[in-house]
Symmetry: C2
Subunit: 391 residues, 2 copies
């Protein structure tokens, strides 16, 4: 199959960093070759990698974690993966999944992608655990709620339209019913379109441009960062996902001046440019000092501590979804932090530990949920998700 | 000011009923005349009527009801309306509202509209209550939760993008803080775009085409149905809004066959056409009988009982938003039912009573919240919301 489907998947995001890209508005032209089914808008279900990974955050997404029912074994998990594979192919093409009770809710112009993951406990059933895949240790600043943490399976459905997301999730949850029950659901949204319609990085609910420091999709650096190459054979072309639910205290954040906010981040609120630069994607100057001899990007600034040069050059591919959670009339605002990397222990954990120890943003953020998943590689027509692990 | 801004607001929706409309994709070209501030996409804040009424359901919306703080009087309400008017004008134009602490979250391509309403209790402070504006009586099938019911003030913010909705709501709630506190929040979504990108009526989470039987925006019948003309002077050009939170039991609904579902509705699931017709907007033949002599559109079919010919010709302008509400891993699905009419008691209440008594859909739906609001007419540059009531 070669890398072609995945290159096409990448195109949308690669274009996001270039002004006036041909994919403005997110419409991606897909060819009919390579067995990829063509949809009006979005990415097909097939490829070397699962869809929804090497791509910008979708406008809407829902993540559902499941716990396996007692007694479900490797063969049972394989049956579920075959069912889900059928659903995923249909839904990605705007068709009703087999057994769909509301088939008209499947429509084809919403760039729907479904991504599936396995929590650490799955590998007690299957063996061949990807390296570095363990529940994260509890950090000093964490206030984890079990209700938002862990899980044996994950589905992450993204689309331009929440009706389509809700409908797809309902189908996938229904098919999982004999095998697994939902443990948590997280719903988020992201706007990667600027005021003049061009694609942009997007902002979290603090108003920060969020996700600037990522490797560029399609580059060798991205591939090395994200895709597993030295784990078990079945996992080649897979990746891992860290899901952290981070509550943002907008009220205390808003008590800061804008320059205090910018100092905590190390970037300008207006453009996302580093405090040492002029444009969003300018490289950080971590040595620069102001007239008084103080570091322009402070020792504890988030942009410094999360920069790969502080992490032995190891990177992650960092995305997010905004969320709001209402308890009656009271609203909580936050970020569903998502990080892809080939190896969580090697790439993500040192970064997390450093941020937990010193990040200025810790004063206004609290992580209340945490989960890790291995995302199998993609599948091709005639094959199914994680087939090489489960047969 | 004449009716021109409102005609322009209507254009988007009027186009929705015509195939191949020039507004496909929802981009509405606005002129610079009439003092309407121009936004890249959407409707301006000014007009004879408030925006967000004579329009299709937005892709995303949030409704927040407030209770007035003790001691807030007519003058205080006027101060809040002046504050909100300033916010609404800025937000509709993609600008930061005064005092916005995250001004970059205000962007201009998201068709953001804000609509404001007053609950019945407000008129104990102001007098000049619109006719027919009273809390609805509790229906036999209602299972009302006070947490989703009532309220002194309403804001309804709609846009193409939930980040923009959340940001606008945060601003409006913050400005209300000295005067009123949130009583409930309801978040919903709607997809009025078909698979080939054309505008369509949209579907609820049962999969039904929902909202077909409305008067056409821009027609005299629409105007008579929606806009108040014989109430108090200040309310001329205003309307009322009924908000009903309706839980849908998808599980038991899905146990029906498709033909049982269609018989309960009286319309085809595929197209929304009446069971006596071929196309969505075909008129219902309420007398048609099948070969066995049975009514094709059953006595208790929703489409029959909600048809205006059964309601002494009185109509409503009916919209909806889908919602999902998660309690941990458990999901509730439903519809935020929205109905505009000049007079609730005269137009809506008889319809509600008839549906409560006999609607086949009652078996799979439960109303859990209910509220009514008077929506003041629109405002022009230099004036503010409900100024004629509050000065």
């Amino acid at each position: 199959m070669s890398g072609r489907p995945s290159r096409r998947q990448l195109f949308g995001y690669a274009g996001a960093t270039a002004a006036g890209a041909a994919v403005a508005g997110g419409v991606v032209a897909l060819g009919k070759d390579s067995g990829t089914e063509v949809v009006g808008r979005g990415v097909g279900p097939y490829g070397e990698h699962q869809p929804g990974i090497a791509a910008a955050s979708p406008r809407h997404a829902e993540l559902v974690a499941f716990n396996l029912r007692p007694g479900v074994d490797k063969a049972g998990l394989g049956r579920l993966m075959r069912l889900w594979t059928g659903d995923i192919v249909a839904l990605a093409n705007g068709r009703a999944a087999p057994g769909d009770t509301a088939p008209e809710l499947a429509i084809g112009n919403v760039a729907l992608t479904t991504t599936v993951g396995f929590g650490p406990r799955v590998f007690e059933l299957t063996g061949e655990r990807p390296p570095g895949l363990d529940d994260l240790p509890v950090m000093r600043h964490d206030r984890l709620d079990p209700a938002w943490s862990g899980g044996d399976l994950l589905i992450m459905v993204g689309a331009d339209d929440p009706v389509s997301v809700v409908h797809a999730v309902r189908r996938l949850v229904a098919d999982a019913q004999p095998f697994a029950t939902p443990a948590w659901r997280q719903t988020g949204f992201w706007n990667g379109t600027g005021s003049d319609g061009q694609l942009v990085t997007g902002r979290n609910l603090f108003g920060q441009v969020d996700g600037t420091g990522n490797p560029t999709v399609g580059t060798p650096e991205f591939d090395t960062t994200v895709w597993s190459s030295d784990g078990p054979d079945w996992f080649r072309g897979g990746t891992t996902l860290v899901v952290r639910r981070i509550r943002l205290n907008l009220d205390t954040w808003d008590e800061l001046t804008r320059s205090e906010q910018e100092r905590a981040i190390g970037r300008k609120l207006s453009t996302g440019a580093p405090l040492t630069g002029a444009a969003e994607h300018d490289e950080l100057d971590l040595e620069a000092r102001d007239a008084d001899g103080r570091l322009v990007i402070a020792e504890n600034a988030h942009a410094r501590l999360s920069h790969h040069s502080e992490n032995d050059g190891r990177r992650i591919f960092r995305k997010g979804l905004n969320y709001v959670q209402d308890t009656g009339p009271t609203r909580e605002s936050g970020l569903i932090f998502l990080s892809h990397q080939a190896d969580i222990a090697a790439q993500f954990l040192p970064l997390l530990a450093r941020l937990d120890a010193a990040d200025a943003l810790n004063e206004w953020t609290t992580t209340i949920g945490s989960a890790v998943f291995a995302l199998p590689p993609g599948f091709q027509p005639g094959t199914w998700l994680a087939q090489n692990l489960l047969t």
